[in-house]
Symmetry: C2
Subunit: 129 residues, 2 copies
């Protein structure tokens, strides 16, 4: 069970946006260069982050991406959910009702992890790669 590479890229991209782009939008071209990844590929993840409401995009010349002013406290969980989706780690085919204990244990465990990631904000980290 692993997070996709895309989540890795998204985390790093957000880290750059937080620490280096307070106001001016930065283009996907520049971001991709810093991360060492294809611009067209990185653009997919940035689009997901836009749709999740974490960042804002401005098209046209000198455009790019910048943080949403309204949302300074972006959590790790926000980014991960934006890329990976919010599906649960455990989904059995035949759902034997809500009192199933196997599901309860595994889902509670997942909630522990999510709670931790929800409390960690990307702005806490200040060391870009």
């Amino acid at each position: 069970m692993k997070y996709s590479q895309a989540t890795d890229y998204a985390l790093h991209a957000m880290l750059h946006l937080v620490s280096e782009a307070p106001d001016k939008p930065v283009s996907v071209h520049l971001l991709a260069e810093k991360l060492g990844v294809s611009p067209t590929y990185l653009s997919k993840m940035l689009t997901k982050l836009v749709k999740a409401g974490l960042i804002h995009s401005v098209p046209g010349a000198n455009g790019g991406y910048r943080l949403r002013r309204s949302q300074e406290d972006i959590s790790f969980l926000d980014i991960i959910h934006a890329i990976e989706g919010t599906a649960s780690v455990f989904e059995c085919s035949l759902n034997h009702g809500s009192e199933c204990q196997i599901q309860q244990v595994v889902l509670d465990a997942e909630r522990q992890m999510e709670e931790y990631l929800r409390n960690r904000k990307i702005s806490d980290i200040t060391r870009p790669s």
Copy 2:
């Protein structure tokens, strides 16, 4: 990010072994029938559980699988690790030393989840499907 179907089967198989087979070994054929899965496929997972030291196998007629007497307190984490392996959910290509904060946050989050799963024993659950 999801656990594989194999983990699902392994959890259910262990649950059956705990609740229904205190002594007599139960064959993979019977287990597979109860779980509604192919015997040869289920056998892969049971073999992994054997190698992880969670259960014991006895070949020959009237053989099958039974719990290891020594290990009554099998945790969810034991089973999951036996099937999924112990690789981390987050592994970046270029490892910038141990002080990397991105890795620290995500791996700490994973540790939260694992700690929870380590404290939940399969013997706590007693409602087979």
